[in-house]
């Protein structure tokens, strides 16, 4: 392992490092947009967990959340922002360099 990079592990973005949020960001990075239900099915998180993690990611500016309705049913659409994409990319690079992946 590279010591210089290994020390940088302490600087990892904790918001991205959390496994559930990392999974959400990874899914949003491969789609243009996805709704709440899609993320719920694909991540396997509970509704409350997913909702909480999305809120944190939105607060950090990593995802945008559009709330609307389809018919009478609420619909929540999520998109990764440029900042979110950069954060995920930086996280991947740091982890790769530190662990010689």
């Amino acid at each position: 392992m590279n010591d210089t990079y290994l020390h940088k592990l302490a600087d990892l973005d904790r918001l991205v490092h959390e496994p559930a949020r990392l999974l959400i960001l990874a899914y949003l990075s491969i789609v243009s947009e996805a709704d709440f239900l899609f993320l719920l099915h694909e991540t396997g998180l509970t509704r409350g967990n997913l909702s909480s993690h999305l809120s944190k990611l939105e607060e950090a500016g990593y995802v945008t959340i559009e709330k609307g309705y389809i018919g009478r049913k609420p619909h929540t659409l999520c998109k990764l922002t440029a900042a979110g994409r950069d954060a995920l990319q930086t996280y991947r690079q740091m982890l790769k360099q530190a662990l010689d992946l």
């Binding site: 496994p19 559930a20 990392l22 999974l23 990874a26 899914y27 990075s29 491969i30 789609v31 243009s32 947009e33 996805a34 709704d35 709440f36 239900l37 899609f38 993320l39 719920l40 099915h41 694909e42 991540t43 396997g44 998180l45 509704r47 409350g48 967990n49 997913l50 909702s51 999305l54 809120s55 939105e58 959340i65 709330k67 389809i70 049913k73 609420p74 619909h75 929540t76």
Partner: protein, 221 residues
């Protein structure tokens, strides 16, 4: 929670998500059966039904485009959610469109050629030798599409569908007689296989994923 974060497998899952409901293959099968029915009627009824032919050709992009989208919007997305795939890179997109257009052109050209040369009663008056291979050519093209999708997105049932379509093409090619009846048999077999697979997958999908009515409670705030 699903812990694996592998972008390649996530992308495969995303594409599988699109075929999870069986709508695309079911509608493709329905179209093949309609084509088969058209040729069957034109074999047995004197006179012209030619005006139906362009309608049938136009109905394919309609079935796989707006009709599929409408079914997914009203049936699929309320059950498993909605995700939009990113647009392919510009160069790849151009190549893909060119390949699809060439493929469609070849198949339509072959069908139109057959249409122009066929006579009532099933005889192909001046059909060339290669034209008699039409069911096989269509079968190979369709099976290649299924095999490609199966390999690329790891969709197991598409291997079986590709195999069944090849078998249907081989069977219709092994029969003797005029080309139109053989084409009718091929389209009926391939269409039935696709329609049955699509229906079975669709019914399983409806049972497995009931409509989710509870997003309201967890509407992200």
């Amino acid at each position: 929670m699903k812990n694996q974060v592998d972008l390649r497998s996530l992308t495969q899952r995303l594409h599988r998500h699109f075929y999870l409901d069986g709508v695309v293959e079911g509608l493709a099968g329905l179209w093949l059966l309609m084509m088969s029915g058209y040729f069957l009627i034109s074999l047995n009824i004197e006179g012209t039904l030619y005006f139906f032919y362009p309608l049938l050709l136009i109905s394919l992009p309609l079935l796989l485009g707006p009709v599929t989208q409408a079914i997914k919007t009203h049936v699929t997305f309320p059950r498993i959610g909605y995700a939009k795939l990113p647009p392919p890179p510009a160069q790849g997109k151009r190549l893909r469109i060119a390949a699809i257009l060439v493929g469609i052109g070849i198949i339509l050209g072959l069908i139109l050629d057959l249409f122009g040369t066929a006579q009532p009663g099933g005889a192909a008056s001046n059909a060339t030798g290669w034209l008699s291979l039409l069911p096989v050519l269509i079968g190979i093209a369709a099976a290649a599409g299924f095999f490609y999708t199966a390999v690329r997105h790891a969709i197991t049932r598409f291997y079986l569908l590709g195999l069944f379509i090849l078998l249907a093409a081989a069977l219709s090619n092994s029969l003797t007689g005029e080309i139109l009846p053989r084409l009718v048999i091929f389209m009926a077999l391939a269409g039935s296989i696709l329609l049955l697979s699509g229906l079975f997958t669709f019914i399983s999908f409806l049972r497995r994923y009931p409509v989710d009515e509870s997003e309201m409670e967890y509407h992200v705030s």
